[in-house]
Symmetry: D3
Subunit: 167 residues, 6 copies
């Protein structure tokens, strides 16, 4: 913990993706070592009780709503380098996502853990896969009501690289 | 308003993207008419004051943070049909996104309006472009701190198609 | 029927995708009318009884094997224009695919119907989606045995355009 | 040979791409070693004598039919990770495909050998490239007749990884 | 001709892809009419006599150099909307590209004509397909010598839309 | 220098991307070593004084023209393997591009340096990113005048791999 804190102090004081004039740049990772990296991200979608019920019903009858969302997550993790313009392409070795229905809060949560073996981290892959998973759920439910909100998208944990992180 | 309500009552009572057994399907839009569709979506990212300041500073010196986010939004709107697995590809005619820094809330908002001329709506394009724009901002700021949350992603308005919607 | 035959006689006598010297070309469809087109294609995969049983078991417990294959079909239908180098991109309005396990033949069949509204047909979209669906099944089963064969990929029917076709 | 058999016995008894409930998952290859992997796959297309003759004629005059099919194979090998939803992206180092016209059987065969250096095998890349090559041939010939069948798509051989395979 | 000139005078006086502050934007084409559009673009590559000879030799033996370049052109025309960040996706109906070897100038020229039916023009598709065709030639020849220059990429002609253009 | 010359003499005497019959092939890089590779490429666009002025004005007010071009360069570098049909996909570690306005020649230059760590070089990535950057500039300026020419696209330098190169 102490150690983690010290490492954090060596974090950059400026945006690394812009130069001194504020212009965009892609970070040069040529000299970095390849290592195993993991990142775990989380998010949720809040919807009308009616929608939550339909999704629950779909889950009970072992329907496809969460499978579509999961495959959207996996597919978008592989394309993160194209969606996040200043990202490098990462060698992804695993994408693991699961969903939970929290009825009393009218909420469905998504938690994604991405693993990669590369010169830079997989945070953006984890965050992107959560976001796209939730957007896929939104898409499948939107005919019932548009009153849905996606939120709480954040990084829970990251390992590998210069420093670890835990929320 | 009355009219809108009535239209809403004719909304499907079931998930349109799954069949009676809960299995995934893509909606058949063959018989639908092409028309001009718009959708406006919104979202925000909350970050440490330090990050908000850096982004503001970047904006003041007319840096690229919001330009990268905007281009990420435009690019992902064009690819929504590939990210949202049960979406059709839409003929997009316009993508307009802007950002606002709300200092007192440590928040940056993104608002995207997508226009298309097609047989189905552009809600997912608007929501996806907002999400990817905010993820691009996250990416550019993440070296400073990982304590950022993306949220409030919702549809504000939609026109064209069977029924309009306004939050 | 008579009519169909006559139309067929006006079919080209040469490969339309190569010029007089045999060099590749993309067919110019500028002058063709947009119309509703459908194509239905079929194919199968033959595997060891053990694999067929595992897939059946997965289907009984409402697992994801066929859902993954279906989503692979939908996704690849949208990308056919990029995979088949001399294809045009088509406005796809529907992709409907289903699978059948024929135990006594150790066979799983896939049947895909694609609908589009465009200046040219959707045969390649239907055939590509069937092929990719079966390859997705192969992928999910290949750890058990590599002795699988994909075959019987053919067009069953096509409507719209200059002439209809029925196998 | 004996050795190969023993290795085979350690093969998984269950589908590796689904969990205990039958739900889809991408295999975690984080701990696997990178090594040189090859896979050789095969397939054919059967067509009317007239089509076989046209393709042969095209080949004799050194036309482009097989070149288009070959480039379709190479291009799709690179995109296999996107088409086969639970595949990882592989570092492909070579794609070699050739075609043979077997006139007496009204058949054209395609044989593809893919090589990669990665943590998992290239079977799906070889099988996908064969399938897409044959679909490209179908596309170029389909104006003459739709009575074509693609079949016999199977793995002939694979080396590297935990165990080799030979048909 | 007179007419063309007058139309030209109504051309915008400012960059249409940036707003009053110089920030990027995608042009809104919602209100524009779909019509048939063509664009013809041209470019060349200059190389050592040795390379020109090899390409000529390849062409004489009906090799694949120009076929690869042509297929690169067709494929990139379909992807122009993704490469040129502020472009809309166009319904392309035809891509026609040919090459000429001008020995006395150590030059290979590429001329591409793209046709589309859409709300905006296909200039960028024509120019992109020429550029990518020439880069494909570069790639195939670069083992012999890196002393090659690609140049002269320009629009020769455009029809359809608000105004025609002819170099 | 002497050394470089000797290495050059061992360069292939034939096109490496075609076989003995002139047919396309992708080079097998399985046995090559991964190493750090760089390539620097250059190109320019010539336009009417009016356009050059508008771009300069945009640059002075810190507008987005060069940012869009830069992001087009980065994005296309990542996709070079798909655009250049016989290219392998490279692990890109850096893309650095800058622009210069040379008023007295009515010219804007683009210079791109790409770095990668892989079994083959990044020349095509550098050249493609320069070309696409310039095409993005063309796109943003084309409403003012179509009289623009893109040229001078060449490799300035390359390091890593079997031999270095310097123009």
């Amino acid at each position: 913990m102490e150690n983690l804190k010290k490492k954090k102090e060596s974090f950059p004081k400026e945006l690394t993706h812009t130069d001194i004039e504020g212009k965009a740049r892609i970070v040069d990772i040529s000299e970095k070592k390849e290592s195993l990296r993991t990142a775990k991200a989380h998010g949720f979608i809040i919807a009308d009780k009616d929608i939550i019920n339909k999704v629950k019903e779909n889950e009970i009858k072992k329907g496809d709503v969460f499978t579509v969302a999961k495959l959207g997550a996996i597919s978008s993790a592989k394309k993160t380098y194209d969606l996040i313009l200043l990202c490098h392409q990462i060698k992804i070795t695993s994408v693991d996502i699961f969903f939970e229905i929290i009825e009393e809060e009218n909420k469905i949560t998504a938690t994604s853990t991405v693993t990669g073996f590369d010169k830079t981290g997989v945070e953006m892959e984890a965050l992107t896969s959560v976001s796209i998973a939730l957007l896929n759920i939104y898409d499948m439910c939107k005919a019932l009501s548009k009153k849905m909100i996606i939120g709480g998208i954040e990084l829970l944990k990251k390992t590998g690289g210069k420093s670890d992180y835990k929320k």
